[in-house]
């Protein structure tokens, strides 16, 4: 196309802007190329890498079905995707690397430091965590040369893009036996990563509504449409959190309208959700944040859209002295609401692939998962042996918050924010920046 190309994958010119901006013949060339890119057919990874898509409603991706911005078919529950491999996983007989630093890239406060310390001690390595605020930021850094990590925490909707960008290395199942042994059956062979080629599940969560029952008497469970509380509790105007996450925020507006497909790419549905958020903004004046795990216990926020794990994290770590955790309540849409999981992966650039595998396996140990959940993060891991409901009954976790438990059934039928096509992402992003402009 022109002299700027660094790698072929970079030059597909997704920006529609370049269509009308490169002048003259170049513009025509760009338009033609971008037309192709519009179909997402940028890299034939699914063939060269030996990945495949199953049969499903979306059709066969090689025949022009929807793909993400890295050219990998969009995984859906009814359309599992096997991610392509670009290299062999590390051998099961390889010796663990010794010494040095195991570099972890994760959200802040999203793993118990004691658990990490114990792992470092056990393996004789130093464990160092670098944190990111959001996955976009993480992605930028990972794409930059010189940012080398061993372990990357992420979400399923980002996985195919990380794989397509060759930022991850495939896993050797023999080194992560705890996946089969300890993890819920539903996530052993997930639709977003058939055969768990690249990822193991980390935590499971629901997205719902948390509120201070000492300051506001509402119960979404009694309403026909529980999400109405986020629109109609005008007494709490200004003390409301809306998640600073375009998918979660707009997705909630969709669920509120009774539009169950939170992975839609329809401009009309997204516009309608945007209008819903605008209505909510004028009535409730929400703060667009992700800090309710701290502000809800402190009482600065009284009503919040938040992740179940954030609510429990608040109950475990952030209750002010003299305020019992029972002042908080939680609700989520049990049918069709967001219930999903996060993942752990190993970076392609990792210099300690064996230790990294051992870390993944370690995180799936029941005692480690328990310590991580109850002792720090508030995020439950999908462990077969964990009876989360019992933790509430026994008072290890605050009784009133038992709705923040993610059950296997809820997970199996839950909704999730999944990968969109490049065009779809732009539609959501445009709407979100419009909302943020106020």
């Amino acid at each position: 196309m022109n002299s700027n190309s660094e790698e072929p994958i970079d030059e597909a010119g997704v920006s529609r802007r370049s269509l009308f901006l490169r002048t003259g013949a170049a513009a025509i060339g760009t338009a033609a190329l971008a037309g192709v890119a519009g179909c997402g057919d940028t890299t034939p990874v699914s063939e060269s890498g030996g990945g495949s898509g199953g049969k499903g409603l979306l059709g066969d991706p090689t025949a022009g079905g929807p793909v993400d911005s890295a050219g990998i078919p969009l995984a859906r529950r009814d359309y599992p995707v096997t991610l392509p491999r670009f290299q062999d996983p590390v051998s099961a007989s390889a010796k663990p690397e010794t010494g040095g630093v195991l570099k972890i890239y994760n959200y802040a406060d999203y793993v118990n430091p004691d658990v990490l310390k114990a792992f470092g001690k056990q393996e004789g390595v130093e464990v160092k965590v670098t944190t990111f605020d959001n996955l976009d930021e993480a992605f930028s850094k990972l794409s930059t040369a010189g940012q080398e990590y061993d372990i990357i925490f992420s979400t399923p909707d980002q996985l195919s893009k990380l794989v397509g960008r060759k930022l991850l290395q495939p896993l050797n199942p023999d080194l992560i036996g705890n996946l089969q042994k300890n993890i819920w059956d539903e996530i052993q062979n997930p639709f977003y990563d058939v055969d768990s080629r690249y990822s193991v599940p980390y935590t499971v969560y629901t997205t719902g509504v948390g509120w201070r029952n000492d300051k506001v008497t509402i119960d979404p469970a009694n309403l026909e449409n529980g999400w109405d509380v986020m629109w109609d509790t005008t007494s709490q105007r200004g003390k409301v959190q809306l998640l600073d996450d375009k998918r979660e925020a707009l997705g909630m507006a969709m669920l509120h309208e009774g539009q169950p497909n939170i992975n839609t790419e329809s401009q009309a549905f997204v516009n309608s959700a945007l209008a819903g958020l605008d209505t909510m903004d004028s009535k409730m004046r929400p703060k667009v944040q992700i800090s309710a795990y701290e502000t809800l216990p402190a009482g600065r926020i009284t009503l919040a859209q938040l992740w179940s794990g954030d609510l429990l994290s608040g109950a475990i770590n952030y209750m002010p002295k003299g305020t019992p955790a029972s002042v908080m309540s939680y609700w989520y849409q049990s049918e069709g609401g967001p219930v999903f999981n996060d993942i752990i992966t190993i970076a392609a650039a990792s210099t300690k692939p064996v230790i990294a595998h051992r870390f993944l396996n370690y995180m799936m140990q029941p005692d480690v998962a328990y310590e991580n959940f109850v002792g720090y993060t508030g995020y439950q891991q999908p462990q077969k042996s964990l009876n989360a409901a019992k933790l509430f009954d026994d008072g290890i976790l605050p009784k009133g918050l038992s709705k923040a438990v993610v059950t296997q059934d809820a997970y199996a039928t839950g909704n999730g924010f999944l990968t969109l096509t490049g065009e779809g992402e732009q539609i959501w992003d445009k709407a979100w920046s419009k909302f943020r402009a106020g």
């Binding site: 022109n2 002299s3 700027n4 660094e6 994958i9 970079d10 030059e11 597909a12 010119g13 997704v14 920006s15 802007r17 370049s18 009308f20 901006l21 490169r22 890119a37 940028t42 911005s69 890295a70 050219g71 605020d133 959001n134 996955l135 976009d136 930021e137 992605f139 930028s140 794409s143 893009k161 397509g164 960008r165 105007r237 200004g238 003390k239 375009k246 903004d281 004046r285 929400p286 703060k287 667009v288 944040q289 402190a298 009482g299 600065r300 490049g422 992402e425 732009q426 992003d429 979100w432 920046s433 419009k434 909302f435 943020r436 402009a437 106020g438």
Partner: protein, 303 residues
């Protein structure tokens, strides 16, 4: 000659520093703004001006003009900054005037007190306010006891009584609080420089105090006023965390927040870079106006 060479030698590291951390960094912003994104929506900077893609810049310009998506943010930012620098001047001038001309033996102490806020980081001071202004915080209780909140509420400047519930006025006051020392210090320096004899001369020639202030002191402190206004307006224009901490509501978002949103995530990073350039261009115009006025004033003094 040797003298000049020695000073050139001393200046070199600083110039090198500025070159790397300002010029090169800004050129990176320019290259991203005139660049494109790859299939994964990561920005690809176009370093060579011949390759520049002006699409994002055109979109950014359309966005900030009337009718564009960011227009309301631009208007809001202008109102907030206008109000905040006016308040800063009204608050800062008397303080600087007192400190420079009437503090007497307390002068040194007053100056130290003015610098004191810089000992604590800006973010920490803002965090303090989020606690003070929380519904059950001491600050909001006091303001409520003095009926200030209901007063502001009745004239429509405050929506309800929750200071942190997405209120424009809270953001403005926080900006004033955060940046007012930058207003006072140049004012202090400028007022301090005014020759006492000039004021005495005005008095001797029969000017009443109010007239001496209006016709002698105020004009002579104009460079200080301008410097103060520029010094507070520039950082306010790029500020985003004050809004984030004090409100976090889209209803009060400023241009810094918009740029931050674009840069932080999503496929529109070049758009954020283009807006940064636009903002810099606007600020540069103010800066040039300031420099021109300053030169004119100095010319007058010299003549």
């Amino acid at each position: 000659m040797t003298n000049r060479r020695i000073w050139g030698f001393f200046a070199a590291p600083g110039m090198g520093w500025l070159l790397v951390f300002f010029v090169v960094a800004f050129y990176a912003v320019v290259s991203v703004g005139f660049g494109n994104v790859n299939t994964l929506y990561q920005p690809i900077p176009y370093w060579n001006p011949l390759d520049w893609n002006f699409g994002y810049m055109i979109e950014a310009i359309q966005s900030v003009l009337p009718g564009g998506q960011t227009w309301p943010v631009v208007v809001r930012t202008a109102i907030y900054i206008g109000a905040a620098i006016t308040l800063s001047l009204l608050i800062g001038y008397p303080v600087a005037y007192y400190a420079s001309r009437h503090a007497g033996r307390w002068r040194g102490l007053v100056v130290v007190l003015l610098i004191l806020p810089f000992w604590i980081s800006y973010i920490m001071r803002m965090y303090a306010w989020t606690n003070l202004l929380a519904p059950d915080g001491y600050g909001s209780k006091l303001l409520s006891a003095l009926s200030i909140d209901s007063l502001l509420s009745s004239v429509g400047l405050l929506d309800g009584t929750d200071w942190l519930g997405g209120q424009g006025i809270t953001v403005i006051l926080a900006l004033v609080y955060g940046y007012v020392p930058f207003m006072i210090l140049p004012l202090f320096a400028s007022l301090d420089r005014i020759d006492q004899r000039v004021i005495e001369a005005a008095r001797d020639l029969g000017a009443p105090p109010e007239s001496a202030f209006r016709r002698v002191i105020l004009p002579l402190s104009k460079p200080g006023i301008l410097a103060g206004l520029v010094l507070v307006a520039l950082p306010m224009a790029g500020d985003y965390y004050t809004q984030t901490l004090m409100s976090a509501s889209p209803a009060t978002s400023m241009i810094g927040n918009t740029i931050n949103d674009y840069i932080q995530g999503g496929p529109e990073k070049p758009l954020g870079a283009a807006m940064t350039m636009l903002l810099s261009a606007v600020l540069l115009m103010f800066m040039l106006y300031y420099l021109r006025t300053l030169r004119r004033e100095q010319g007058e003094v010299a003549a």
